[in-house]
């Protein structure tokens, strides 16, 4: 593999980094390979000594992630203490900020309820279809036994099977929908948590 091919492959694997970090990483690889070739290795030998783009990128990103995690631990969040005047202002302003918080919570709650009511309505419809199918087949048997209507029985059995079949398909759709709803709810929660963290409001 040539240097440029290696850098291209590594660049693809650095996609999780921001633009600046990605370029710095690629520049670093380029410099190392150039230094190796200056030291007497061929370009292919230099690239081979790095262990392949996959292995190199995995190790690089893993160590970089660990560095970022370590630096977060090194600077612990400092809790700010409130002064007397700040407490007074907080209490006096409570009708405003408290009602804003309650309104925000109500909006968030309504978003969650909307998401889950859609999922629930599909699930209830699915259950209704399944039960209707079973009921249709049951009624068909009753028709045959009590009323002796063969045509009605065949129709009802057919309709019942169709309803049960549709409910089975709908079951998988409901399953997919509920997984999507969980991911969406989780995503909203994490986004909100991160935005509050950035403003230092997650105490």
């Amino acid at each position: 593999m040539t240097k440029n091919e290696f850098l291209k492959e590594v660049g693809k694997r650095f996609k999780s980094l921001d633009k600046n970090d990605r370029q710095k990483g690629i520049d670093y690889c380029c410099e190392i390979i150039d230094d190796m070739t200056e030291d007497g290795l061929s370009e292919e030998e230099a690239v081979a000594s790095l262990g392949g783009a996959d292995k190199f990128a995995e190790s690089f990103l893993s160590e970089l992630a660990q560095s970022k995690s370590d630096s977060v631990q090194v600077t612990p969040f400092k809790r700010r203490k409130f002064g007397a005047w700040e407490i007074v202002l907080l209490v006096l302003g409570s009708p405003l900020w408290l009602s804003l918080i309650l309104a925000a919570a109500a909006i968030l709650m309504s978003v969650y309820i909307t998401i889950w009511s859609v999922v629930l309505s599909f699930a209830v419809t699915d259950l209704a279809l399944a039960l209707s199918g079973v009921a249709a087949i049951g009624y068909a048997i009753v028709c045959m036994v009590l009323l002796g209507g063969v045509n009605r029985m065949i129709f009802l059995i057919g309709a019942g099977l169709v309803l049960i079949g549709v409910s089975i398909f709908m079951y998988y759709f409901c399953k997919w929908l509920s997984i999507a709803a969980v991911k969406l709810s989780k995503g909203i929660f994490i986004k909100l948590k991160n935005s509050l963290k950035g403003k230092g409001l997650d105490r």
């Binding site: 410099e31 230094d35 970089l64």
Partner: protein, 108 residues
Amino acid sequence: MDIQLKRGMLEVCVLAALKSEDSYGYKIIKDVRPFVEISESTLYPILKRLEAAGFITVNTVQHNGRLRKYYHLTQSGSERIDIFIDEWQEIMNIYKFVTGEVGINDEE
């Protein structure tokens, strides 16, 4: 070697490689490799950490028609090496305890 311990050791080794003169990535690896296992992929994050901590600074220099980054040990970096050397006695005491050279009830 335990990964956290190794990480700490590598950082000090990289700083030590810069003690006598400024150096660049590939040379640092060549200087440190005889003493501790270090790869090209692990050096970059170490250099980034050390720079963020203020132990080294970076300069880009023209070299044979291309750019090469040279790393320079700061005063803080030098002090970090001194701290490591001072802490070595403590590490030796722990080593003696673990190997049984010094018992729990032995007095120093």
